[in-house]
Every structure is written in structure tokens, then in C-alpha cells.
């Protein structure tokens, strides 16, 4: 099976052939994977070198002329380092584009904290009008990429990961999807968290919702699912900073007495290398860690 990042470069290269409005902007990362596309479309595959402020601003400038930029590098260098460029050179200018990140929160653990961006979604959540997709499988990444490329002048963030669920699920670029229903509470699994969540709640009487589009959050489905349980207890399991969506969930449930537990990546640095699996365990995001915290919260 290919990775989300491999799927992204392959599909984007094909989209460039079909849609003259699209342009890819790179800062060396993944440039080798776009070599063929660059030969076919030298004016629409742009590698600015290791210059991430310019990376994002170049996307903004392309959008000012009516093009739809697809801007790509690791999440830490796409959202965190040039955050003011994301804020001012797209939103403030009234333009849109597609930001596609790789690396996520812990995809290259041996690379250390400099290459981890657990805060990327929370940062973008301070800005207006960004749609945020977090696919859990390469097929979902492809579907959401196609959706984003065709989304007019929308501002879209597509967060790719090396972590994948074993099987893809249908995604529509909008809503939460109900995977199973129960009475004791609602567990929302975001993207690559799905398989671990399903393993964690095995035997628990809970509703499980699957989220690949987290902003805007599908508040109607969450409200409806929580209202159908005994106590409107909601657990969010996100592959980035814990609690990133707790406020959004709270707004969805504002008319309902409820509790929210936000699980995800902690603020404190692990200061460990190793593997993705080891980091998931270190963050308590492996099945046993999730099971213990979810069961404790629900009293199940």
C-alpha cells in the first residue's frame, strides 16, 4: 500500500494535467516526487528552495492572479513557521488555496520535536474560513485532495500522515459518520485514530463517530449522537494537540448538559525518538491507553 504522501504526489501530478488553474508550490520537500510533473508543467510546479515564508506567500500571490495553489511541506514548516503568511497572505487578502502537510504530530519520531507539529490544527483554528481535512487512509486522502482541489477559492488544509487505518471509509469532505451506536457516550475518532479507537472501545456500549473533516465541525451530527445517549458524554480522540476540538464540541452541545474529554497529543515533549507505535503508546493513544481513559471517563 502506498502512503498518503505518495498518493498526494501521484494524484496531484494528474490533476495538474487536467486543471490549468492548479499550481504546486514546494520548498524542496517532496520536490523529487514532483520531478515528472515539473517537466510537464514547468510554470505550475514551483520549488522556491528552503524558504517557507516565501512558500506560503508565493501561494498567496498565485491566488491573487486567480490560480489555485497547492502548497506543500512538513506541517511544522507549513503552518507553524510561516503562520503569519498563512494568516495574512490568504485570509486577509480574501483568497484561498490548498495547504497539504506531511509529518503530522509524530510521523518521523527519530527526527525529534523539530519535525513534529501537534499544534497545527489548533493554530489554523484561530483563523476564519479554513476547512481542515484529516484523512485516515490513502484512499481518503485522495478523495479529500480531489475535493479540495475543486473547492473553488476555499481555504483548505489537508493533513496527511504516515499513520493509516487498515481500511478506507467513505468520506464526503463535510460530515461526521456514524460507525456504531451505543448508550453510554460518544467517541469521535479523527482520521488515523480510528483503528485504535475501535480496538479500545471493543465491548463498550458507545457510539463511535468517524471524522475526516474537523473544521468546520459537523455539530449537527455530534449534537444528535450525544442527545441519543444516556448522559451526553463525549470523547474526542485526535492525532494532534489534545483538546483541539473540545471548544467546538462544547459549542455543538451548548443546549445539552454534557461532558467532554479531549484526548490527543500532550503539550509536554516526550523527548524520545523511536517509532510511531512507541510514540502512540507514549501519548496514551494506543488501544490500551485509550481504553483506560475512555472507560474511566464513562464509568464503564
Amino acid at each position: 500500500m502506498d502512503t498518503m504522501r505518495e498518493r498526494f504526489t501521484a494524484i496531484t501530478s494528474r490533476l495538474l494535467d487536467k486543471d490549468p488553474r492548479l499550481a504546486v508550490v514546494l520548498a524542496d520537500i517532496s520536490a523529487d516526487r514532483f520531478a515528472d510533473a515539473a517537466r510537464a508543467h514547468p510554470d505550475r510546479v514551483i520549488n522556491v528552495g528552503i524558504r517557507e515564508q516565501l512558500l506560503v506567500s508565493t501561494g498567496g500571490g498565485l491566488a491573487l492572479t486567480g490560480m489555485r495553489p497547492i502548497v506543500h511541506t512538513f506541517a511544522s514548516f507549513l503552518v507553524e513557521r510561516p503562520f503569519e503568511q498563512v494568516k495574512l497572505d490568504f485570509g486577509h487578502q480574501g483568497t484561498g488555496g490548498v495547504l497539504v502537510s506531511a509529518g503530522g504530530s509524530y510521523d518521523w519520531p527519530a527526527g525529534g520535536f523539530t519535525h513534529m507539529a501537534p499544534g497545527d490544527v489548533a493554530l489554523l483554528d484561530t483563523l476564519d474560513g479554513w476547512t481542515i481535512h484529516v484523512p485516515g487512509h490513502p484512499d481518503e486522502a485522495e478523495a479529500l485532495l480531489r475535493h479540495a482541489a475543486a473547492a473553488g477559492d476555499d481555504r483548505v488544509y489537508l493533513r496527511l500522515s504516515e499513520q493509516s487505518n487498515a481500511a478506507p471509509r467513505p468520506v464526503d469532505g463535510v460530515g461526521l459518520h456514524t460507525v456504531r451506536q451505543g448508550r453510554r457516550g460518544v467517541v469521535v475518532a479523527v482520521g488515523p485514530m480510528m483503528d485504535n479507537v475501535l480496538a479500545a472501545v471493543d465491548g463498550l456500549d458507545v457510539t463511535v463517530l468517524y471524522a475526516t473533516t474537523v473544521r468546520p465541525l459537523d455539530t449537527a451530527t455530534l449534537r444528535s449522537a450525544a442527545g441519543a445517549t444516556d448522559a451526553a458524554d463525549v470523547v474526542l480522540v485526535e492525532p494532534y494537540l489534545a483538546g483541539t476540538s473540545s471548544a467546538a464540541a462544547g459549542e455543538a452541545l451548548v443546549d445539552l448538559p454534557h461532558r467532554v474529554l479531549g484526548l490527543g497529543v500532550a503539550r509536554r515533549e516526550l523527548r524520545r525518538y523511536g517509532t510511531i507505535e512507541e510514540h502512540l503508546a507514549g501519548q496514551g493513544l494506543h488501544p490500551a491507553g485509550l481504553r483506560a481513559r475512555i472507560a474511566d471517563f464513562l464509568g464503564a
Binding site: 499550481a23 510554470d43 506567500s57 491573487l64 492572479t65 486567480g66 495574512l88 486577509h92
Partner: protein, 236 residues
């Protein structure tokens, strides 16, 4: 008959002569200090004689683009836009008011003809790089992109990312106008133009009050590389 070393007068002297009056509608002052007018002559010559854009073409794909990156002190810019008909003179006295389109930093979403919202320094030139690339990719090879920055704004590292890349990429339709009023805290030893030249740009330095010299610098051929014009004005 006397001749002047400043060259021929602007093509529409009445328009240029109107600018101080237009500025005073915003400032309330009849006289403006050098800082308020540091960009005035450079902007006027650009809009009067070089840019291919008019109030009826602000959404035309093939127009020339002017990006004011140094967004603070925009009175001269608004005065030129008003003189050229991009915005009604009647809006000038609202400058800075809550419901005015004219802020102390311009906003492209509020003023027709304003190409970018600016204020935070170091965004205009990188955006201009993207705009030049976008026009090239769409075959709009005649459209020029101009960006105005200040010598102190050049402190921002984002500019140097853009200068280095634009030179390497040979973005021949990109132009940077640097208004140099010697306000950079640590100065630019060796000059500003040399920094552009080292990155592969064409660059020239002129008197920022001399309309004919500005025009000549603006229209200097640079077929295979981006072009920088450093316009020196009175030190801040």
C-alpha cells in the same frame, strides 16, 4: 527660456499639483513632511506614466499590478489613487474612521485598485513573486508586477527569500521599487542595489524626487531578470 535639470514635467502636471491638496484632506495639514511624502513622486510617475491599469480595469486579468508593501503612511498612495480616479475624492476625509475604506494600512477588500492588504512588513515582495509566477503560468506575459517596499522594511528576512528566488528564477516581469529614506536602523552598508544585483537582478539607484530619472529607471530594459529601482529621498 529656462531649462531644468529635473527633466520634462509630468505629462499631467495639474494632476501632480493636486496631490498635496488631496493629502491634506486626510491629514488636515497644508504642508507635509518628508516622511509623509517619501513615496509621492515615485508613486505618481509609476501611476501616471508606467502602469497599465485604470479604474475600469481593476479586475482585468491582464492589468499591471502594483502592490504597496510598505503600507504605513498610505496618504500619498490614496492621493494618487484618487487623482487617477480609482477612489472618489469625497472618501479621503474619512481616512482612518471606523466605516471608512481608507485605513492607516490599505485593505484590498475595501478599496478598488488596491492589490494587497498590507501593514505587516515583508509580505508584499513575496506575494509579488507569486503574482508574477501566476501571470506567467497563465500566459499573461505582458503584465508587469510592481511592489513598493521601504529600506527599513528590507530588514524583514522574508524579502531576502523573495529576492534570492526571483533572481534565480529570472522573473523578468517583477519589479521592486525601494523607497530609501535611510530609515533602516542598521543601514545597508554597500548599498541596497548591490543586494539585488548579487541575486541576479537588474538594479538602479535614482533621485526619488526626479520624475524623469524615475521614469528612465522604471522603463530600463531588463529582458531576462527582475528589476529593482532604489529611489533615494530625504533621510527620515
Amino acid at each position: 527660456m529656462n531649462t531644468t535639470t529635473l527633466g520634462t514635467p509630468p505629462t499631467t502636471p495639474s494632476g501632480y499639483a493636486a496631490l498635496p491638496g488631496l493629502m491634506s484632506l486626510m491629514t488636515g495639514d497644508e504642508k507635509h513632511d518628508a516622511a509623509a511624502t517619501s513615496t509621492l513622486d515615485a508613486l505618481w510617475v509609476l501611476y501616471d506614466r508606467v502602469l497599465r491599469v485604470s479604474p475600469s480595469e481593476v479586475d482585468s486579468p491582464g492589468r499591471d499590478r502594483f502592490l504597496l508593501s510598505k503600507g504605513h503612511g498610505p496618504m500619498a498612495y490614496y492621493a494618487v489613487l484618487a487623482a487617477k480616479g480609482f477612489l472618489p475624492v469625497s472618501t479621503l476625509p474619512t481616512f482612518g474612521a471606523y466605516d471608512s475604506p481608507l485605513g492607516h494600512h490599505p485593505d484590498r477588500m475595501l478599496v478598488p485598485g488596491v492589490e494587497i492588504g498590507s501593514g505587516s512588513l515583508g509580505h508584499g515582495l513575496p506575494l509579488a513573486v507569486g503574482a508574477a509566477l501566476g501571470l506567467r503560468a497563465q500566459g499573461l506575459a505582458d503584465s508587469a508586477v510592481w511592489v513598493l517596499i521601504g529600506d527599513a522594511e528590507l530588514d524583514e528576512g522574508s524579502n531576502h527569500e523573495a529576492i534570492a528566488y526571483a533572481g534565480a528564477a529570472g522573473l523578468a516581469r517583477l519589479h521592486t521599487l525601494v523607497i530609501d529614506n535611510a530609515s533602516a536602523t542598521h543601514g545597508w552598508p554597500g548599498g541596497i542595489a548591490s543586494r539585488f544585483e548579487a541575486a541576479g537582478w537588474s538594479a538602479t539607484t535614482v533621485d526619488g524626487r526626479d520624475h524623469e530619472a524615475l521614469y528612465a529607471a522604471y522603463t530600463q530594459p531588463h529582458p531576462d531578470r527582475p528589476h529593482a529601482v532604489v529611489a533615494r529621498v530625504e533621510p527620515k
